[in-house]
C-alpha cells in the first residue's frame, strides 16, 4: 500500500502538460516573489528575496532568475526551480529595472537614484561599465540584434540609445513626460516608449531615432489623467502590442502595423508590467494596487483569471520552456 501514493504522484507529475511554465512575480512591498504555474494558474509558492524587489528577468536557458532588490542596492540571482539564492551581482545603487542582452549576457541595469546605467557580466559577475544617463533612469530595452540598448530617464524625458559594444550614447530622443518603458518589436523596425505622465506611447524608428507615430489613449468613463502607460509587450510576429495603462486599470491592445488601438482589457488596479508565456498564449499583468496578477488570453483578448499574489506586485517574468 505504501507505494500507491507514490505511483499516484508519478502519474500526476507526468499528467502535467509540458507547456507549464513558472511565472515569477516580484512584490515590491512584501519583499518576496510569488511563483505561479502558467498551466493551472495557481500559486506554487512565495519566497523572500530581499528588500523592495522590482525588476525581474530570467536567463534565456532558464537557469538563473535575476531580481533587482532596490533597497539592498544589489541584484540577487536565484535558482528558478528551488528559489535558492545562487549569488549576487553588483548593480550600483537603487537598481530598478534591467534588461538582459539577447544572448543572456550582459545585464543592463537602470540605477534610478544615481542617473546611471550599470552593465554587469552575468558570468564573471563583474561590472563592465557605468553609463551616465538622464535623471531617474528606468526603462531598459535592447534591440533584437543586441547592438543597441535603450534607457529611458523619467525626469529628463528622453530615450537614450546606447551602443552595446562601446557603452556610449549615440542618440537621444525627447519623448513625453516620464518615460517608463522601452520595447522593440521583434524585427527591430519599431521601438515603443511609454510616457506615464504624458499619457502616450511614442513609436520610434530605431534607424533615424525619430518619433514616427504617437499613440494616444481615450477610454470612455476613465479620466484622461488616470491613463498612465507603463509596460509594453509586443507579440513575436509584431502584430499586437500590449500597453499597461496604470491606474486606468486596463491594458490597451494595439495593432502593430497601423498603431491603431484594437481594444482595452479591464484588469486589476494600477497595472504596470507584463510578460508573455513562451508560446504567447497568455499574458500576465502585475496589478500593484489590487495585489493580484491578471492572466490575459492573447488569442481571444479576454482576461481569464485574477490571481492573488503578494503586496504591490511590480514585475513579472515567465520561465522559458524546459530545454
Amino acid at each position: 500500500m505504501n507505494h500507491l501514493p507514490l505511483a499516484a504522484a508519478l502519474i500526476l507529475a507526468t499528467a502535467v502538460p509540458a507547456a507549464a511554465n513558472r511565472v515569477f512575480v516580484s512584490n515590491e512591498k512584501s519583499n518576496d516573489v510569488t511563483v505561479l504555474d502558467s498551466d493551472t494558474l495557481e500559486v506554487i509558492g512565495t519566497y523572500p528575496v530581499g528588500n523592495r524587489p522590482r525588476g525581474i528577468a530570467i536567463s534565456p536557458d532558464g537557469s538563473e532568475l535575476y531580481i533587482c532588490v532596490s533597497d539592498d542596492n544589489i541584484v540577487r540571482v536565484f535558482d528558478p526551480e528551488t528559489m535558492e539564492e545562487l549569488h549576487t551581482l553588483p548593480s550600483g545603487p537603487d537598481p530598478e529595472l534591467f534588461v538582459l542582452h539577447p544572448s543572456g549576457n550582459p545585464l543592463y541595469i537602470a540605477n534610478e537614484d544615481d542617473n546611471l546605467v550599470t552593465v554587469v557580466d552575468t558570468q564573471t559577475h563583474e561590472r563592465l561599465a557605468e553609463i551616465p544617463v538622464g535623471v531617474e533612469p528606468e526603462g531598459m530595452g535592447v534591440s533584437p540584434d543586441g547592438k543597441t540598448v535603450i534607457n529611458t530617464s523619467e525626469t529628463t524625458n528622453m530615450a537614450h540609445f546606447i551602443d552595446s559594444e562601446t557603452f556610449e550614447i549615440y542618440a537621444n530622443t525627447l519623448v513625453d513626460s516620464r518615460p517608463r518603458f522601452a520595447e522593440y518589436n521583434h524585427d527591430g523596425s519599431k521601438l515603443y516608449v511609454s510616457s506615464e505622465i504624458g499619457g502616450t506611447v511614442s513609436v520610434i524608428d530605431p534607424t533615424t531615432q525619430q518619433i514616427v507615430d504617437k499613440i494616444e489613449f481615450e477610454i470612455p468613463g476613465v479620466l484622461p489623467e488616470a491613463i498612465q502607460p507603463v509596460g509594453v509587450r509586443v507579440t513575436n510576429d509584431g502584430s499586437k502590442v500590449f500597453v499597461a495603462l496604470g491606474p486606468a486599470n486596463r491594458v490597451a491592445v494595439i495593432d502593430g502595423e497601423t498603431d491603431e488601438i484594437i481594444d482595452y482589457l479591464l484588469v486589476g488596479q494600477r497595472v504596470w508590467q507584463m510578460a508573455f508565456t513562451p508560446d504567447e498564449s497568455l499574458l500576465f499583468t502585475t496589478n500593484g494596487n489590487s495585489n493580484d496578477v491578471s492572466a490575459i488570453d492573447v488569442e481571444s483578448l479576454e482576461v481569464v483569471k485574477s490571481i492573488q499574489v503578494g503586496q504591490q506586485p511590480w514585475g513579472v517574468v515567465v520561465a522559458p520552456d524546459a530545454q
Binding site: 553588483p90 537603487d94 534610478e112 537614484d113 544615481d114 542617473n115 546611471l116 552593465v119 564573471t124 559577475h125 563583474e126 561590472r127 563592465l128 561599465a129 557605468e130 553609463i131 551616465p132 538622464g134 535623471v135 531617474e136 530617464s153 523619467e154 525626469t155 529628463t156 524625458n157 528622453m158 537614450h160 557603452f167 556610449e168 550614447i169 549615440y170 542618440a171 537621444n172 530622443t173 525627447l174 513626460s177 516620464r178 505622465i197 504624458g198 499619457g199 533615424t208 531615432q209 525619430q210 518619433i211 479620466l223 489623467e225 498612465q228 491606474p247
Partner: protein, 413 residues
C-alpha cells in the same frame, strides 16, 4: 527628435573621469557626473535663475520639528538645478541658481542686483506683500516664480502678468481639504481662526470652500494672539487647560477646522478640544503641496535624491523651489533654447506641462498663472489622501475643482 551634437559635446566634456571602469568588480567605478560648469563646451547655453528668500524675524514655530533650516528652499532649488543639468548634458544646456537671502527691507535692493546682473528668472520665497512688491519692481525685466506666498489676492485683484504661482493658493488648499471632508460627509465645521490678517485670509478661503462644496460652518471663533508663553518647560500644562476651555460650547460639529497661518495655536488643538472631534486645516489633517512621507508616483526616488543632497527631509518650500527650477528646465528642454524670452513665452503657453511626482502633468492656468497641482492631505506621518477627490468633476480639468476657476477669477492682466 535625435539630439546628437550636444551629446557629443557632453561626452567629450565628461572626460576620462567618467571612463568606464573595466574589470572593476570589487572597486567602485568613478561616478563623476556631468561636466563641471567651469568647463562648458563652446556651444553650451547658460540658463540663469535666482532664488530670493525673504526672511523676517519672528517667533520660533510651536514645534521644534518645524524650525526653519539655513538651506530652506535653497536645497530644493539645488536639486532642481542638478536635475536640469543632468538633462542639460544631452541638450548643451547648463543651469544655475543664485541663492540670496534678504529681509523685507533689503529685498528690493537684492532684486535690483539680480536684475542688473541680467537674471531673468526669479524664484521668490516671501510673504504676499513682499512678493507683490518684487513683481512690480521686476516688471517685464524678469519672470517671478512665486514659491512661497499663498494669498488669493496675489492671484486675484493683485495678479501680475510677470508672475507664475508655483505655491498653491489658500483657495486650492482649502478646497482640497473641503472635498475630502465632504466625501467623508463631515460637513459641519467649527472654524477657528487666528487674529492675524493671513489667518483671516485663510479662514475666508475655508468659508468659500464650505459654500462651494456644500459644508456648513456652524460657528466661527477667533483665537486672539495675546503673546502667550508658547514653548516653555511648563507650556503643555497651560495648553491642556486652555484649549478645552477655548473650544467648549460650540454647536454640534463633525470637525474643527483651524486657520492659523501665524502658527499661534493650531498645533495645540488635536486631542485638547472640548468635544472629541478631529482637527484639520493648520494642524491635524493638513493640506500641503508636499510631505516627506509621500511615496506614490515615483516620489520615493525623488525623496531619496533630496535627502542625499540636503541631509534632511524635504519641506514644502523645497518642493516649490524645485518645481520652479524644473519649470524653467523643462521649458529649456522642450524649446531646445536658453533664451529667457522664448522660455517665458513657452511656460505661459497651452503647450507647456511639467511632471512633479504627483501622478499627472502640471500646467499653468492662463487666467491667473497659478500652477495646477494635486494637493496632499497629510497627517503627521503620512499622506492620508490626495485631492482632487475623484467624485468632483470638472468640464476641463479636475485640477480646476481646486482654487479659483476661470469664471470666478478677479485677475485681469
Amino acid at each position: 527628435m535625435p539630439i546628437r551634437p550636444a551629446l557629443l559635446a557632453a561626452l567629450v566634456a565628461m572626460g576620462p573621469s567618467c571612463a568606464f571602469a573595466q574589470q572593476a568588480a570589487e572597486t567602485t567605478p568613478s561616478q563623476t557626473q556631468a561636466p563641471a560648469a567651469s568647463q562648458p563646451a563652446a556651444d553650451v547655453a547658460l540658463i540663469r535663475a535666482a532664488v530670493l528668500r525673504v526672511d523676517n524675524p519672528g517667533l520660533p514655530p510651536i514645534s521644534r520639528l518645524e524650525l526653519p533650516t539655513e538651506d530652506l528652499g535653497f536645497a530644493g532649488a539645488r536639486l532642481g538645478i542638478e536635475d536640469n543639468d543632468t538633462t542639460g548634458r544631452f541638450m548643451g544646456q547648463d543651469f544655475e541658481a543664485v541663492e540670496v537671502t534678504a529681509t523685507s527691507e533689503t529685498a528690493a535692493a537684492e532684486l535690483d542686483k539680480l536684475l542688473a546682473d541680467g537674471i531673468q528668472f526669479i524664484v521668490t520665497l516671501a510673504d504676499d506683500e513682499t512678493t507683490l512688491a518684487l513683481a512690480d519692481q521686476a516688471g517685464d525685466r524678469a519672470m517671478i516664480l512665486n514659491a512661497g506666498a499663498r494669498g488669493d489676492a496675489l492671484r486675484g485683484t493683485d495678479c501680475r502678468f510677470n508672475t507664475i504661482h508655483v505655491a498653491p493658493s489658500d483657495a486650492m488648499l482649502a478646497d482640497a481639504l473641503a472635498q475630502f471632508l465632504v466625501w467623508k460627509k463631515w460637513t459641519d465645521w467649527f472654524l477657528i481662526k487666528g487674529s492675524h490678517p493671513q489667518d483671516e485670509a485663510f479662514a475666508q478661503a475655508f468659508t468659500r470652500s464650505a459654500s462651494k462644496f456644500g459644508a456648513t460652518i456652524v460657528e466661527e471663533r477667533v483665537y486672539e494672539d495675546t503673546g502667550g508663553a508658547r514653548r516653555t518647560d511648563t507650556g503643555h500644562v497651560q495648553v491642556q487647560q486652555q484649549m478645552p476651555v477655548f473650544t467648549q460650547r460650540a454647536p454640534d460639529h463633525d470637525i474643527l477646522v483651524a486657520a492659523d497661518r501665524a502658527d499661534v495655536f493650531a498645533a495645540y488643538l488635536p486631542y485638547q478640544t472640548w468635544d472629541p472631534r478631529p482637527v484639520a486645516g493648520s494642524s491635524g489633517l493638513v493640506p500641503r503641496s508636499w510631505h516627506p512621507a509621500m511615496e506614490a508616483w515615483g516620489a520615493t526616488q525623488f525623496q531619496n535624491r533630496f535627502e542625499e543632497l540636503a541631509g534632511r527631509r524635504m519641506r514644502e518650500e523645497d518642493y516649490q523651489t524645485w518645481l520652479a527650477i524644473r519649470i524653467i528646465g523643462e521649458a529649456a528642454t522642450r524649446q531646445q533654447s536658453g533664451d529667457p524670452a522664448t522660455l517665458r513665452e513657452f511656460i505661459l503657453s497651452p503647450d507647456f506641462d511639467v511632471a512633479g511626482f504627483k501622478g499627472q502633468k502640471l500646467t499653468v492656468r492662463d487666467w491667473d498663472h497659478q500652477v495646477r497641482q494635486p494637493i496632499l492631505l497629510t497627517t503627521g506621518d503620512l499622506t492620508a489622501s490626495v485631492s482632487p477627490q475623484e467624485e468632483f468633476l470638472h468640464q476641463t480639468s479636475r485640477l480646476d475643482t481646486l482654487g479659483i476657476d476661470r469664471p470666478e477669477t478677479e485677475c485681469s492682466f
